[in-house]
Each structure stands twice: as structure tokens, then as C-alpha cells.
Amino acid sequence: MIPSDTAQGLAHRPWAVFFVCPDRRGSEGSIGRGRPALRIALVIDDADRDRPNGVKIMSALLRSLEPLVTTLRAEGCTVVGPRERDGAIVLDAIDSAAQLPSGWGVQTGPGVYRLRRRADRAVFGHSAGPQAWKRFLHPPRERLWSADRGVDGTLTITGPDEEPPRYAFLGVRACDLRAIAIQDRVLGASPSYAARRRAAFLVAVNCTEPSATCFCVSAGAGPDVEAVETRPDRAPADWALADLALTELAEPGDAEPLYVATALSPAGGRILARLPQTPAPPDVVAAARAAVGAATDHMGRSLPDVDLREMLAASLDSPHWADVAARCLTCANCTMVCPTCFCTSVTDTTDLSGDHAERWQTWASCFEVDFSYLHGGSVRTSARSRYRQWLTHKLGTWRDQFGESGCVGCGRCIAWCPAGIDITAEVRALTSQGAER
């Protein structure tokens, strides 16, 4: 049992290792993009939230993820993690850590995604798969309400009254953690989204193996969780997105990888304290830090280092859009796999009696012709205008609308484009054309 005063509880345990992080806001610039992970603050209690200095952090060494899965399940959570299925790493419910994709890696490129065998037994040794966590927090199909018409014509409309599902996400990479933060800002006003999000327990993972389509560093945060947690555009009150952060250390020949675990939230601290663990020795912490640091230097792609919002606003009538449109199938794959794309449509239906109606919300895409349908026709009929809408929104006008970029650099849209269209290459082409003008 965990004492209610977790700070005291942890401080008196011999295995707990505390570091002091002098100033989390980084007056000396100690925490920022490109720095290794693991200097992450643990919020011990609410009083610590107001304390600008001296926030404690703790790292523990876990030899198995099984106790974590068991503990989260015992807490009533549906644990969702990566699994190998149908030739891809998908996200699905798991009952045991044994179901994680041990020893699977991926090979990606424009229009390419292939599983490959790894030399080690890593379970997080793959980059972003075809699914994002939004399918759980912002489900593809959701009933918003149902309505019944009485004999006198009166209308009774009932919203959803089910308890939100309690998910524990196991293995949220930095890019996807940032995507969740972005969707929080966009969809936080939706009561159903907010309820699911509040109930979710997030185990983030520091990425040690980006793929050829990854560009999280130039997109603004990653591959370490800390870079996401400490982004300057995050309000102080938002400050722990995830509950736990893991770094996986896998060596060929090891039966199971090691995990350096850090608590990021009070709930994370309480769960971590219940897991069998040892103190993380300094050399292991250093190795974990080095692995994530190396990942920073192995991004397969990058966005050009220009003000993309300005560049795109000045490129709305560029001839390059027609060039992309000649390749784009407007299939909407990029929007479906994108972890931040949030657009939805609603459909109203009735049953055969005609007196029971329902409203269903489903994922939509700006690549659909009907997406911009106004009486008389659609606003965006050409492929050129629909690709332009997607790209300029993602990297440009998202900032106008929500104060930050909508791209996290996960690379999914590149890998899952059947035509192999590469967002980073298109942006580069637009940038150089703009420079010539």
C-alpha cells in the first residue's frame, strides 16, 4: 500500500533515487530540445506544482514490464500497447507484457512500411505505426446523442451517459505524446474527449530508434519525452502530460530489455512505487541518456528551418500545389494516420419507426470533396486545393487557430501515402520556390 503522502513514502525507501533539478524552467537553458532525457521532474504533491525550484526527480530500473501491466489492470485500466498484427505494429488491448512486439522493428520510407526482425528483444524498437492513440481518445466513430419523438411530437434528446473508458497507454512515443497535447488543445472543449483524456494513464517511452521517415526534432519536440513535457508553449498548469516515462535498453542476447522508469505525475509516482525495481545505477542512466541522445542525431528527415507559417501563407498560389496534385490520390490516408488530424463529420439517422434518431460523429478528412460542401457545391473541388488545405493547416494555419503547429514529425503520412508523397520534401520545394520569388 502506498502512503497517501507519497513524497514521504518514497523518500524513506532505500531504492528511491532523487536528483534535484535546480530550475525546471531552465534559466541556464539546461532543459531543452536536444538534451538527453531522464532529468524529468516528479510532482510529489500539489504543493510542488507551485515550487519553482528544487523539484525532485527519480529514476528506477525495471527488469520486466509485466508487473506494470498487471498493476494497471488491477487498477481497472484497459491497457493498450503496441502489438504485431497483419504485418504491422498496431495499438490494441493487452493482458500481458508478453503480447508486446518483442524483437520487432520496422523499416519505413515514402509509401513503405515493413516489419523486420531485430537482433535484440526490444518491445519499443519500432517507430510510429499506422495507428495513433487518437483512435482511443478521439474514436473514429462515436454516438453523440439519441433522440426520441413522443406521440405528441415532443422531443427527448439524451447524451451519452456511459462512464468513459479508463485506458492505460503503454509506450506513447514523444511524437505521439506531443500529438496528444495538441489534440488536448483542439478537442479539450469536447466533454466526451475531456472525460476519456482525464481518465487515461499514460506511460510514455523515450524513443531510441527513429526511422527513415521521422523528423520529430525539427518538428519541435522529441525524441525524448522531456522535450515534449517542457516545450515553452505549454502552459505551466499543463505540465505533466504523461504519468510515467520509460527508456528501453535492449542488448542482443538479453532475455528481456531493461527499463529506466521515471514518474512524471503523482499518479505515475504511486504506480511506480508499487513495481518491483532497483535503483537505476548511474551507468545505466547514462546509457539510457546516450541512447536517446543518439536518436536525436538519427532523424531520417527534417523540416526546413524557416517560419513555415509565413512561408506557407505566402505560397497559397504557388504552382507547386499543382505538381503535388498530379501525384496525390486524395485518398485521405495521411489524415487518417496523422496523430493530430481531428476533423469529424456528423450523420443523423433514424430507425424504421421514424421516431428514434441518433447523431453519430465519425472521422472526416479535408481530402473528401464533400468536406467543404456548401449549398450548390464544394468550396475545395480540386486536388490541388485539398492538398494545400491539409498541408497549410498542419504546418501553418494551425498556429493561427490553436497557437502551435499541428505536425509532430512522426512520419506516418509519408510511410502510409500510397503515392509516397513526402511532406518534408514538399515543404522544402515550396520553401525554395518561395526563396526564388
Binding site: 487498477e75 503523482p266 468536406f371
Partner: protein, 288 residues
């Protein structure tokens, strides 16, 4: 999982809308056929109604089992909300066909409406077709100060004019009301031409004079609003005092669904009323 173990304090998510996704039942208490395809309905809440609305705002109107569309508020007082709807699709037709006594659902009011008219200066209202509907509350408010208000109304044909019974009341209250049609019929003795041609009959204080600057409010088809704004600027109305009401498809009304994007703005949240300078910048790009 015990509640105290939940990471509830971790992320402060906004929940300002609460039940904003759920339509509130309203009863049709009055129905008036403005034209062959346009109907004005007055709606009274069955139980608790929506919050107070401002001129230029819209609601999402739900026809049972058919669907929901954004419709500007054309009037109403107290709990009563008035909508004027042109039947152009399945949902708008169902709303137009809703008989007195039937129930519709409303969500809202949503969006940024017309800015209040400044304390001084002429007020010029430029309306094209059904675009007169969201401007009607502006007109009614403007009548409280006789002599300042000019209302310029255009329609395709005389049969497409709406609120015709009120024009004389507005004139009697001190407004200059000018009407034009694109195509006259045998009964029409009035002006023929696009609505901007009426501007020559409206004295506008040129900028630089001591008279306070005028303000313009425009709603109509996109091309009419663009040309209307240009004409008002040419007549001496400062661009930052010209307001237009934009239209895009909407599924939620509260900046969640993404359908109403127009470049950097979400029309439901940042509009539908925007200033003419912004509108011109956005509408100059085809298919934005």
C-alpha cells in the same frame, strides 16, 4: 481505480461547452412564407431555452431525423428566436416545411456577430437575397436612431425579396430603404441592377471631412460581399469599419469539427462576421 488515484490534476482541459452538442427542443410558434423557397419561423423553447443571442450570431438548427445546419438569427425577443431559411438542401427544406406546433432542435448561439454600430456616423447596410436575414437585427437596432441608417437591398427578382412587409415600417421609423433587383418582372417599377448601384443614392461622408466616418454591414453571396466592400471603400467608408458575414459548412459550431476552416480562421469561432480587409485577403485565393 479510485478517484484519488486518477491523474485528474494533470491536464486542465477546458469544458466550457458542457452540453453544447445536444440540441435544445424549440416549438415552431409562427411560420411565414417569405418567398417560394424561403420561410421565416419563430421558435419558442419547450423547456429552458438557449442563452441570449447577439445580432449576427447563428444557431445550429436540427430537423428531427434529417440533420442540422447553421442558420443566422433573423430576430426574436425574450426566449423567442426567429430564423429565416431558404430551402436549398434536405435539412433546410425540412426546416421550411416544419408546421406550426412541430419541434425543432437548436444549439447555440454561436460565433461572433456584428460589432455594435459606433455612437456616431452613417450606417450602411448592404444585403443580397437571404443575406438580409442576419442583418435584420442590425436594422431594427439602427432604427432607434432615425436618420443614420441606410438599407440597400438586392435580390435576383422581385419574387425573391424577403421581409417586404417591413420595408415601409423601416422607412417610417426614419431609415432610407432602397431596393433593387437583378431582373425585373412585369410588376416591378423600381430600380434594376446589382445592389452596389444603389450606393450613388446614398450620401456618404468622405473621409477627411469633419463628419464622423460611416460604418458598413454586408451580407450576401461571396462575390456580392467582395464587390460590395470595394464599393463601400470607394464611396469613402474606411475598410476597418466594413463588416461581412461569411458562410462555410459547419458540423459542430464550436470549433471542433474542422469543416468551416477558411485559411487561418474557423468561421464558427472567429466569424461568421469578420472585417472586410480580412475577408478580402482570404477570399482572394480560389478554393481556400
Amino acid at each position: 481505480m479510485n478517484v484519488d488515484r486518477l491523474p485528474a490534476t494533470r491536464v486542465r482541459l477546458l469544458d466550457p461547452y458542457g452540453q453544447a452538442m445536444i440540441p435544445v427542443p424549440y416549438r415552431v410558434v409562427h411560420r411565414h412564407e417569405e418567398t417560394a423557397d424561403t420561410v421565416t419561423v419563430r421558435l419558442e423553447p419547450v423547456g429552458d431555452g438557449l442563452d441570449a443571442w447577439a445580432p449576427g450570431q447563428f444557431t445550429m438548427v436540427y430537423a428531427f431525423g434529417v440533420g442540422e445546419i447553421p442558420i443566422s438569427i433573423s430576430g426574436g425577443s425574450g426566449p423567442v428566436i426567429q430564423h429565416t431559411v431558404r430551402a436549398v438542401g434536405a435539412v433546410s427544406r425540412a426546416i421550411c416545411d416544419a408546421p406550426v406546433g412541430s419541434i425543432l432542435g437548436l444549439r447555440g448561439p454561436f460565433g461572433r456577430g456584428w460589432p455594435d454600430r459606433p455612437p456616431e456616423g452613417d450606417v450602411i447596410v448592404l444585403a443580397g437575397g437571404i443575406g438580409l436575414a442576419p442583418l435584420r437585427p442590425v436594422i431594427l437596432a439602427g432604427l432607434r436612431e432615425p436618420g443614420r441608417l441606410s438599407v440597400l437591398i438586392g435580390a435576383r427578382t422581385p419574387a425573391d425579396l424577403i421581409f417586404t412587409a417591413e420595408y415601409d415600417q423601416w422607412r417610417a421609423a426614419g431609415a432610407r430603404v432602397l431596393v433593387t433587383v437583378d431582373r425585373a418582372d412585369a410588376t416591378w417599377t423600381g430600380h434594376v441592377g446589382v445592389v452596389t448601384t444603389l450606393l450613388s443614392q446614398v450620401p456618404v461622408a468622405p473621409s477627411g471631412t469633419t463628419r464622423p466616418a460611416p460604418t458598413g454591414y454586408i451580407c450576401g453571396p461571396e462575390i456580392m460581399m467582395r464587390l460590395g466592400a470595394d464599393a463601400l471603400v470607394a464611396a469613402g467608408v474606411p475598410p476597418h469599419r466594413i463588416w461581412v458575414s461569411l458562410e462555410r459548412t459547419m458540423h459542430c459550431g464550436i470549433a471542433l469539427c474542422g469543416h468551416c476552416q477558411l485559411g487561418p480562421i474557423l468561421v464558427c469561432r472567429d466569424g461568421p462576421v469578420v472585417d472586410a480587409g480580412n475577408a478580402a485577403r482570404l477570399l482572394q485565393h480560389r478554393e481556400l
